[in-house]
Symmetry: C2
């Protein structure tokens, strides 16, 4: 274990990074450096891309913007009298080309001390994530390509910095985010630094929160550095960043790790905070690993979504929000989250009944609004719905080709259901929101988003989908968790069947509801979307009797739901088709707050390519249907 009579005081500034606003971010960094100097810190560390932000889409192609970000480096360097500062920013080399023909850019960590850059002054990111929302390869040249261009290996060029603090020299390794998540790569940057005797490794990250991610990280760090004489710093930002179709939550949780992988200091989640600790000290302090129970899990989810909503509204001139409140569970959860995030004084809920809405749900909606103390009104849609039917039924198309053949419109039941949904979403909610200068939200959940069980220009509408990355059963669970703290959602809403109430076939008082069996179909959607499983895989697992185990569904649920292989197959094909074909609705749906391992949006990139079943699927099916298994 390296120790020293001159411990180094390190500060990790967990700032909120505002993507696309380098001026604000740089100002904050300069302020934190001043505070650190006054506090006598030796090193201050900021997150990855802490000047420009990380999720900027193709704004990385805007050279003026990139140069603007880059220019802040010297301002920061010039503030480093008596301190070492390490920060993330874009590095630019306009003598070289990026592979898109523009100027070359790098995702870089900069380091300066006493108003000078240390050594080369920067390190370029080596491992470039390019899955989910990550697009590093799209915009940045990697250290790996630089080495290859010089006919060198990355080991040849990747060295720790020599930093002298209080007359003691330290080997400080700098890496960026994915560089520590090297399991799937042929290059391991941490190992290279360890072989080169780094005593301190600093990882600048811009790492979105996903449910239960922090524990994973602690164990990865432990495995990487255990029994090596090295301190490890994880600097992450807070805030939200987006790619248009998804909002990602950045929880911070910046951590100072001891050489044994134990936690010395952890910053609070979703809080701007600078954590400080002595490293290379005689005595190592250990903070206990925060225990994660199932309850804390729900708390984490609740906190994340509320934070996401709150921050999303920062871009609007006010915090007013409009939502439809049907008396069902989805809009109930949505309302509670909005009231918590924005204040009940900012929430305007509208109940919009037609002839098909029960007194039960209408009452439940109003009671919930009372419990939350939000603004509430009822605007019936029956008259407008009937007028639309009349307008459409009386329309006559004439073919103006001389034949004058006419076409009349005949409305089906589903046509009529959709008219109600669009009347609510486009005529009323969009109308009220624009008058109040507010935004309105989409209350959909992930399961119905997968199957397209929602009407485009109806309940698909909204400027934000706060709960569209939660499966239906998770919606119930989160709602129950909220009620366990403070009972706001009426029991009725939990007890009635999930129903769109758009026709007599969906009468909740008669126990009728959605044509989806959520306890199973939630898991099926997760298998498609998060586990990336094909019908072929699922049919194979079903045949082997291990489906329940693979998709993490109660065995009995599957057994009771399907009486035989034929009914399993019919449902599997039907749901796969719904999932694939209803992508056309997701193309036009609002941004979703991402909380799972894969959210609909640009987290999961889809093409409108119809439905396909593999050759092996067809063979498996044939065998099963012919009783050959």
């Amino acid at each position: 274990m390296m120790s020293s009579t001159n411990p180094v005081k390190i500060a990790v500034a967990q700032i909120e990074v505002i993507a696309g606003h380098p001026d604000i971010n740089a100002k904050k960094i300069l302020r934190e450096i001043e505070i650190a100097k006054n506090a006598g810190d030796d090193i201050i560390v900021f997150p990855e891309m802490s000047i420009p932000g990380y999720l900027l889409g193709d704004e990385w192609e805007n050279t003026a913007f990139v140069n603007d970000c880059y220019a802040f480096n010297d301002e920061i360097k010039n503030a480093t009298d008596n301190i070492v500062a390490i920060w993330g920013n874009v590095d630019v080399d306009d003598s070289m080309k990026n592979e898109d023909g523009r100027i070359r850019k790098y995702n870089a960590a900069f380091i300066a001390q006493n108003k000078s850059y240390l050594g080369a002054g920067r390190v370029h990111k080596t491992l470039m994530p390019k899955y989910r929302e990550f697009d590093d390869e799209r915009h940045f040249y990697s250290a790996r390509k630089e080495a290859q261009d010089r006919y060198l290996s990355i080991e040849d060029v990747f060295d720790p910095f020599e930093v002298t603090i209080k007359a003691t020299s330290h080997k400080l390794g700098l890496i960026l985010c994915e560089d520590m998540w090297s399991d799937d790569y042929t290059i391991n940057p941490i190992n290279i630094l360890l072989k080169k005797d780094a005593g301190l490794i600093v990882n600048l990250s811009c790492s979105p929160w996903t449910w239960r991610k922090n524990n994973k990280r602690h164990s990865v760090v432990r495995n990487r550095i255990e029994n090596q004489p090295v301190y490890f710093i994880y600097a992450n930002n807070i805030g939200i960043q987006n790619n248009g179709k998804n909002i990602f939550l950045f929880d911070g949780n910046s951590t100072i790790y001891n050489p044994d992988g134990s936690l010395q200091k952890v910053a609070k989640d979703y809080t701007e905070e600078t954590i400080r600790a002595p490293i290379f000290a005689e005595k190592i302090e250990i903070m206990l690993n925060p225990e994660v129970s199932d309850e804390r899990d729900k708390e984490e989810l609740y906190k994340g979504i509320v934070y996401g909503i709150k921050k999303f509204f920062d871009i609007f001139p006010n915090r007013r929000v409009v939502l439809g409140l049907s008396g069902g569970i989805d809009s109930a959860l949505s309302a509670v989250l909005l009231a918590e995030a924005l204040g009940s004084e900012n929430v305007y809920a509208i109940n919009m009944p037609s002839q098909f809405n029960s007194e039960t749900t209408k009452n439940a909606a109003k009671i919930l609004a009372q419990n939350l103390g939000i603004h509430y009104t009822t605007i019936p849609i029956q008259a407008s719905y009937e007028n639309t039917i009349i307008d459409l039924e009386s329309a006559i198309f004439t073919r103006l080709d001389g034949s004058n053949t006419t076409t009349k419109l005949k409305l089906s039941g589903i046509n009529k259901e959709n008219i109600q949904a669009r009347d609510r979403g486009s005529r009323l909610l969009a109308g009220v929101a624009s008058i109040l200068d507010a935004v309105f939200v989409n209350n959909g959940n992930k399961t119905e988003t997968a199957f397209g069980y929602a009407t485009l220009y109806g309940d698909v509408n909204g400027a934000l989908a706060p709960i569209a990355d939660l499966y239906k059963m998770e919606v119930y669970e989160l709602a129950a968790f909220i009620n366990s703290k403070k009972n706001v959602i009426p029991d009725t809403i939990f007890n009635i069947p999930a129903s769109a109430e758009l026709s007599a076939d969906q009468n909740i008082d008669e126990g009728k509801g959605d044509p989806i069996y959520y306890p199973y179909h939630d898991k099926l959607v997760r298998a498609f979307v998060e586990f990336r499983l094909d019908p072929e895989d699922l049919l194979q697992y079903y045949t082997e009797g291990i489906l329940a185990q693979i998709i993490k569904c109660d065995e009995k649920i599957i057994e009771n739901y399907f009486k035989d292989a034929a009914s399993f197959i019919a449902d599997l094909e039907h749901k796969w088709k719904l999932y694939k074909l209803n992508y056309f609705k997701r193309i036009q749906s609002p941004p979703i707050i991402a909380v799972s391992k894969r959210a609909f949006g640009f987290d999961l990139r889809e093409s409108q390519n119809g439905v396909y079943f593999t050759q092996r699927y067809l063979k498996l099916k044939h065998k099963l249907m012919n009783g050959e298994n």
Copy 2:
């Protein structure tokens, strides 16, 4: 010049590739191989990714699907008795990991002869495009990384195949698409093959059409191979492929180049066709380079969009389409293109007037419908519009926090305009389309898409935006081109001002219209979107007096429009803000047919990050406003 007494008969099969349907594509490939064998061809070449298709989004993560595609390789190999076949498909190595932790995949060209793979049997793509719609690095491991993992350079591992045809051995180099577009890369695959004496280079491509791209390619090939003894084959597919937010057109134009870069054979655009030519022959045939005039340009554009529409409808059960026909230029162009692509018997146009629509436009719409012989009807929205105003004005929100404070809704002019647009888009067009089991289209152009000059859930709606990659003036130009062939669009539509006709302020009979000066703002949008210029750049060019030249706008147009720097700056900032802030509408807008160098959609990736002006912009502005320049 290499020549031979045994000329080789090469066939290039320009097939339509259906993305995501390997069964259909493989069947077509096998059929073409049979035909080629009967025709006595020695080599047959298919495009890149001709089994799976190319734009599949994250379906590349579906291992069952990928293995299904891969399995077709052996079927094709087994059909190569007495012929060499070269085709594009995904290569899979399940002993290795991709950098996303899944099985490793490559974008590969396969080669087989006499039922055996030749040599390694495949080549992996070296240069991975990752700009615009391209995402090769996201899904595939590159030959370049493979070389680096073995501590080798790409030159060490990249060799031509030795192919024996009619007892003569040939060195055949295989590359994939971007491998020939190496200007911006540090690796040049064609040069490597030329150094290794390749006599034939085959490039398998899946190369989307963009306006004027083919001439560019001819000159690139000429520059690469000129004066080298090498034949060059460019095999491209036809069809459309999409990333959800964009439809890309594949025009084919597969080409057999002579060693001097001249064209020996070129396949017709948007046509399934196999071109054949002898290579290594004594005498070289030369086809004249098809001349490109401005008129052919327009023809190319027209043909492309019509093809895109036609193919897009292949995924639907029928070809019926609904559109709003206002009597303005955008919907007029849209209607003509739809009638051409789908047949006038499939087009249902609706004129939906409110009190603000003039007799002029209503008449023009009907005349156009007559000229096209399409189905037509009028559904006035005035009553519904008025009812919505009453519904909204009579709604009273009550704050249910015990205070019972009430909020009433006061409608502004813009609120009322939006109500009309939503009534048309969501109540009527969506209603009629669902009843007819049809889709309806969005008639927006690129300029209004940029500035958000359209109503979400109103005219932003639709399942397809066929002309949203055309600037407003291009809409007029394409419409005029169509009229020059056959006069279908009434002159009135060209002569009235462009107007939304949503209020008395937009009365076209009084010469009032949109708050956009298209001859200049079209060019401004192109500068933002395609040239990727920042307000800083534009202000700099304005200051230097070279703005007109840079953005390719008539000098006088700019001079006349802005009386001084202050008015230029005010407009620039206003339009930059509109462009950035109205991204929220594009998030929810339909797929756009891409025809330019950068279309809105997933071609241009955006984030909802608000508006930023660089430090240098602010300084320039300050100087200008204070007369320091």
